[in-house]
């Protein structure tokens, strides 16, 4: 090994040229974000079990949970639709939500193992590239999962929205995932360790599912749960997608949910989602700035 140790004189002694040239912040930000994103995709490629589980799990939901309520009286879940048709939207949103909620875990492990320090001692154009890379990764993953669920539920007989409808489904998933990813990344920097983060994920995940319109319609619930479900942002992603699935002739003014406090239109639900996403992304800014600036 001693023979390979001799540094080449011109290799190590010359000063780096990069520091002399004018820094191009945008270009540098793109470069570091892409490199960090690439790392996450390499991990996914070499450990594909996450993706496999992420596709098998919603399939199980569709088949098993769908079968559970198959014999429910006709019309219980809306006019002339089967439970399988009803459930599709819930599974899409719940899967995307679960994925986004876990977004903070890899960052938390990087904190714990010291890998984050490697990123923090580097002259990053902005440390938000670390957060950005996670968000790009998780949203891509969620869109792949959504596509898989859409295809599977179509095969199970739930039908398909039209092209514009599908684009809107993707947009809704994107909004929800961005907002929840922000929240999860915020938690990854606020909580002391992965045990605590997993505990929070555990406590949040299922209750938010049950307190939404993912599994049953609003009219099915007791009054108090209706109030909770209409305060739950998940419902504002589920109901629009469900409406797009069941109605070929939708418009932004279509009423998609009869909340205790009034009717919610498709456009209104989208605005609420945009608001939710903006709110979470803004609310984690001070924390990220403190931890990463």
């Amino acid at each position: 090994m001693s023979s390979t140790l001799t540094p080449s004189k011109n290799g190590l002694s010359e000063k780096p040229l990069a520091t002399l040239s004018q820094p191009n912040l945008v270009g540098e930000f793109v470069q570091e974000t892409l490199a960090l994103t690439r790392r996450l995709f390499i991990q996914l490629q070499r450990r594909p079990s996450t993706l496999a589980a992420g596709i098998i799990q919603p399939l199980m939901w569709l088949i098993l949970f769908g079968a559970l309520f198959q014999n429910a009286p006709q019309g219980l879940f809306g006019d002339r639709i089967s439970y399988g048709q009803f459930l599709g939207a819930g599974v899409i949103v719940f899967t995307a939500f679960g994925g986004a909620l876990n977004a903070g875990l890899p960052v938390m492990f990087d904190r714990e193992f010291g890998f984050l320090n490697r990123l923090l001692v580097a002259p990053l154009a902005s440390r938000f590239s670390i957060v950005m890379a996670s968000a790009i990764f998780i949203t891509t993953l969620s869109l792949i999962q959504t596509a898989a669920i859409v295809v599977m539920s179509a095969l199970l007989g739930a039908g398909l929205p039209n092209a514009f409808g599908l684009a809107l489904v993707a947009f809704i998933v994107l909004l929800l995932v961005l907002g929840v990813t922000g929240l999860s990344l915020g938690l990854a920097f606020a909580l002391p360790g992965h045990i605590e983060l997993i505990a929070v994920i555990f406590v949040t995940n299922l209750p938010l599912l049950f307190a939404s319109t993912a599994l049953v319609p609003l009219s099915f619930m007791p009054k108090w749960l209706q109030v909770v479900a209409t305060l739950n942002p998940l419902s504002y992603a589920i109901e629009p997608i469900r409406y797009l699935y069941l109605h070929k002739d939708w418009s932004f003014s279509s009423i998609i949910m009869q909340a205790p406090f009034g009717n919610v239109s498709l456009g209104g639900a989208l605005l609420i989602l945009v608001g939710f996403c903006t709110l979470t992304l803004i609310s984690i800014q001070p924390l990220l700035r403190r931890r990463l600036a």
């Binding site: 960090l36 904190r111 490697r118 001692v121 002259p123 002391p192």
Partner: protein, 338 residues
């Protein structure tokens, strides 16, 4: 202009004053050692230098750039090798270096060339395209060194680079640091191993309980302590009364300044003697006259441990053991997490 300039650095974590008063100046092209027991504040000093922790007060400059005011420019000039090697075990060595190159914004062609050079330099050719999860400890350290050098920093900062390494890997790291010095890279290294600092460092600062207690070249520091050391063993394991007898005999010699019995080393005798005298011969003759045997005898210059001992009244080993007992591993892990 010094490569690293630290003045009156202070940093506390809650009620713990990790760094009380550290000032040091590292000249360009030298290996500078920061020596001290565990918990003395070495790592905190480096974390402040490398912008991982914000100091409470004091000045830190790298090549004249303040790390507090211009952290990005300072980071560009620093290479930091943490004590614990943190690699992504799923990535290959080359992929990690590619990530590292992008984080330092090397243009693609430059990155490719530097990565090839660095892989060659650290003898990683065989391993570069294997996942880092399969690497041995020494190999991980070498990859970490490669990553820290990729952007050709002015100053390479290493926190306890050989802790937990086998002897061969340790000498590999030592040789590598010496070669870096040959090509003009400044190296700042912390260690609680005396022999490491003694073997590598051009200049050293000894740090204890968050303060610099001595600094200079290793031989300056040793000269300042004064006296030569003689380690004497009458038998491999001497009885206490025999050691006492020898002690009182030797203390009467004019060249001998101090005699200490070390029960931990089989009652060997540690003598401080006037340097460059015929002290060694005097000691041997005295023992012979009294009819005492000599199992082993060696004369040496004072070590850095003696410097530490003189300044603090305890040896580095004692300080390390004491520190190990009083440290809160969980709280420290938390400090080091961002």
């Amino acid at each position: 202009m010094p490569a690293v300039f630290i003045e009156k650095l202070q940093k506390r974590y809650g009620s713990v004053e990790a760094v009380k008063d550290v000032s040091l100046s590292v000249q360009s092209g030298e290996i500078f050692g920061l020596l001290g027991p565990n918990g003395a504040g070495k790592t905190t000093t480096l974390r402040c230098l490398c912008t991982l922790t914000e100091p409470d007060s004091g000045t830190i400059e790298v090549s004249g750039i303040s790390v507090v005011d211009n952290p990005r420019q300072a980071r560009q000039r620093l290479g930091y090798i943490a004590q614990e090697v943190a690699l992504d075990k799923v990535l290959t060595g080359r992929e990690l270096l590619e990530l590292q190159a992008a984080l330092y914004h090397l243009p693609k062609a430059t990155a490719k060339q530097r990565i090839a050079e660095t892989i060659d330099l650290l003898g990683l050719d065989e391993w570069a395209d294997k996942r880092t999860g399969t690497y041995s400890g020494g190999l991980k350290k070498r990859l970490d060194l490669a990553a820290g050098l990729l952007h050709q920093p002015d100053v390479l900062v290493l926190d306890e680079p050989t802790v937990g390494l086998d002897i061969e890997s340790r000498s590999t790291v030592w040789n590598f640091l010496r070669r870096l010095r040959e090509v003009g890279t400044t190296v700042l290294i912390t260690s609680h191993y005396l022999e490491e600092i003694d073997a590598l460092a051009d200049r050293v600062a000894i740090i204890d309980r968050g303060m610099v207690i001595a600094s200079g070249t290793p031989s300056e520091l040793k000269d300042r302590v004064g006296g030569d050391r003689i380690t004497l063993r009458i038998r491999e394991f001497s009885p206490t009364d025999e050691a006492q007898q020898a002690k009182s005999l030797l203390e009467s010699l004019p060249t001998v300044q101090e005699v200490i019995i070390n029960p931990a080393q089989g009652n060997s005798l540690n003598l401080v003697v006037t340097p460059n005298s015929e002290a060694l011969m005097g000691v041997q003759q005295t023992l012979q006259k009294a009819g005492l045997p000599t199992f082993g005898i060696a004369q040496s210059r004072p070590s850095l441990d003696d410097v530490y001992l003189t300044a603090t009244g305890r040896t580095l080993l004692d300080a390390d053991l004491a520190a190990a007992g009083s440290r809160d591993a969980k709280a420290e892990k938390k400090q080091n997490m961002r």
